[in-house]
């Protein structure tokens, strides 16, 4: 019999995980499929934070910025495609909140109902919304990354800057009521459409759209971290100077993977809008960005799949538990306590323990 090696075991774990999420429609009704799809999207955020925190050493406390940007970009397209927007009586579809905020004698057209509404015009095309849902987060990440990594800013300062950025973005979104829908966000959205097929959020097809997306994101991320660039990235995380004096431009590696992490988050935000049918400034709440970090820490930030499973299971647990009256208020405190314990006693999270067990079970250590 062939000996089971550590890397074989890793493949087995991935296959089992993928098999489980792809077979869930056999067991769950459509209501639960919709909920589970949202947890899988959180899992995607876990992958993104594991890549930037675990592999690049960049603790991003503002992951919600990229998630929110992705959500709003597609949300704008879906908002314009909704029946309410189409029935406002103008030449072009107009979001209802723009009507509410319009001047009495304003022209009922997307071009000029208010000063900034023309920016919505290209979003009449859903493809543009999809494109921007990835492009905008990447652009923001590239700008932040180029500045902070070129300047050699590291560690906690990156966390503070990203944290400030997400709060700033939230403030701007809430403030620009007539452009973004303000505090209410974007609601009453159309369904996502591909070639005329509509993705009703409460169907198996939407679930599979999310589940297969997650599988693809997981596999692409794995390929990236197993590449030569992925190894160099980890080297830079361990000792940026050593890498620099070996001839690697550390900033370009950090910026690249920061952008990949942002692209994944933006993609997750886009899927969330399709599944949840709203985009809200709460995506850019500090507590949400912190929650993502906690999921990854508990699951294991040094493991892509660990962080992903951590995000899925904790958000699932949190949602079910807070339906119980006893835990409505206390869940956040319990989660916080759990986080402290994990940081203190299991710095590599649950995946760290799983890795340990796997290494004991197999002979060929270090080959993974």
């Amino acid at each position: 019999m062939m000996k089971l090696t550590y890397s074989h075991l890793k493949v087995v774990v991935y296959v089992v995980f993928i098999a489980i999420i792809l077979s869930l429609p056999l067991f769950l009704d459509e209501f639960w499929l919709n909920r589970t799809a949202k947890y899988l999207i959180y899992g995607m955020l876990g992958v993104a934070i594991s890549l930037s925190w675990g592999y690049a050493g960049i603790l991003n406390l503002g992951q919600g910025l990229f998630f929110g940007a992705g959500a709003y970009m597609l949300g704008m397209s879906l908002k314009l495609a909704s029946p309410t927007s189409l029935e406002q009586g103008g030449q072009t579809p107009i979001p209802d909140f723009m009507m509410w905020n319009a001047e009495p004698n304003a022209v009922v057209d997307l071009c000029c109902i208010n000063h900034v509404s023309f920016l919505w015009m290209p979003f009449q095309s859903q493809s543009f919304g999809i494109f921007m849902a990835i492009a905008l987060p990447v652009l923001i990440a590239w700008l932040i990354g180029t500045i902070i990594f070129r300047k050699g800013i590291a560690g906690v300062f990156i966390s503070i800057i990203t944290l400030a950025m997400v709060l700033l973005a939230r403030l701007l979104v809430v403030d620009a009521q007539s452009f973004t829908g303000g505090f209410n966000g974007l609601t009453d959205l159309a369904w996502f459409k591909i070639n005329g097929y509509e993705f009703d959020p409460y169907t198996v097809s939407t679930y599979y759209l999310v589940a297969i997306s997650l599988v693809i994101v997981l596999l692409i991320t794995r390929v990236l971290i197993n590449s030569r660039a992925g190894l160099i990235l980890q080297a830079i995380r361990d000792d940026q100077n050593r890498a620099k004096y070996l001839g690697f431009d550390a900033a370009s590696y950090q910026t690249f993977f920061f952008c990949v992490s942002a692209a994944i988050s933006g993609f997750a935000g886009m899927l969330y809008v399709i599944t949840a049918e709203f985009a809200s400034p709460t995506f850019m709440d500090l507590s949400f960005s912190i929650a993502i970090v906690i999921w990854a820490a508990v699951g294991g930030r040094a493991s892509i799949l660990g962080a992903c499973i951590g995000a899925i299971s904790i958000s699932m647990l949190g949602a079910s538990v807070s339906e119980n009256e006893l835990f409505v208020e206390s869940w956040q405190a319990i989660l916080g306590l759990f986080f402290v314990l994990v940081v203190l006693y299991m710095p590599k999270g649950l995946a760290g323990i799983a890795h340990g067990i796997c290494r004991k079970l197999t002979v060929n250590r270090g080959e993974g």
């Binding site: 000792d239 050593r242 590696y253 250590r365 080959e367």
Partner: protein, 251 residues
Amino acid sequence: MKAKNRDLYIDGLGVNFSGFQAVNNFSMVVKHGEMRVLLGANGAGKTTLMDMICGKTQSTAGRIFLGDKEITNKPPHLIARMGIGRKFQIPSVFKELSVLQNLSVAAMQESTVLANLGSMKRRVDHERMKEVMSMTNLENKAHELAENLSHGETPWLELAMLIIRKPQVILLDEPTAGMTADETLKTSRIMNNLKGQHTIIAVEHDMAFVREIADKITVMHQGEFLAEGHISDIENNQAVKDAYLGSGGIH
């Protein structure tokens, strides 16, 4: 001297840290394959000189040439790519990676992100890895994480990471700092193995070690060039004696 004979040429180099002249009008020529030791008391400017060569510190006067290419004040990663390898005083390795992974990173031929998106496999020269690991006494540690290496092995790993790149010039800042006598002996063996293949410039205080490895010595004093020559010349040099009088000379 013809450019092809010299690997490193420093001309009138100086640096001024807001008023403090750490290195002043320093010139030096290091020939191909030479093992040069830099001597001098603390604060003589040896480490600062190395920092300027590898791009860590920006010089304020003078020029540095690697072969016939000028490298003065270029970004560190470009200088490294051009052929200068630097070992730091405090050994720095990639702690959470294995010895093999550390060496793989160092041996990477491409430097940009996009050129490195391919897989690790088939790009690793296992023969060369083995050769370098046995040269640096790490042959049994291939799968060990760098953080688990002993105090003496960590600098060897850093040295191995430099050797595997085959840089034109290697800069070593106190290669034996904190080593036991046995480890120092093994290090001098590694160095003697490298002699002739690489041009090496080392800062070192251990005179026994210096006698063991050095071809030629350059002495610095208060940021300036003081003397240059073989070890016996330096030991009998009046200027060196004067400069180190009171600190008991360099013996």
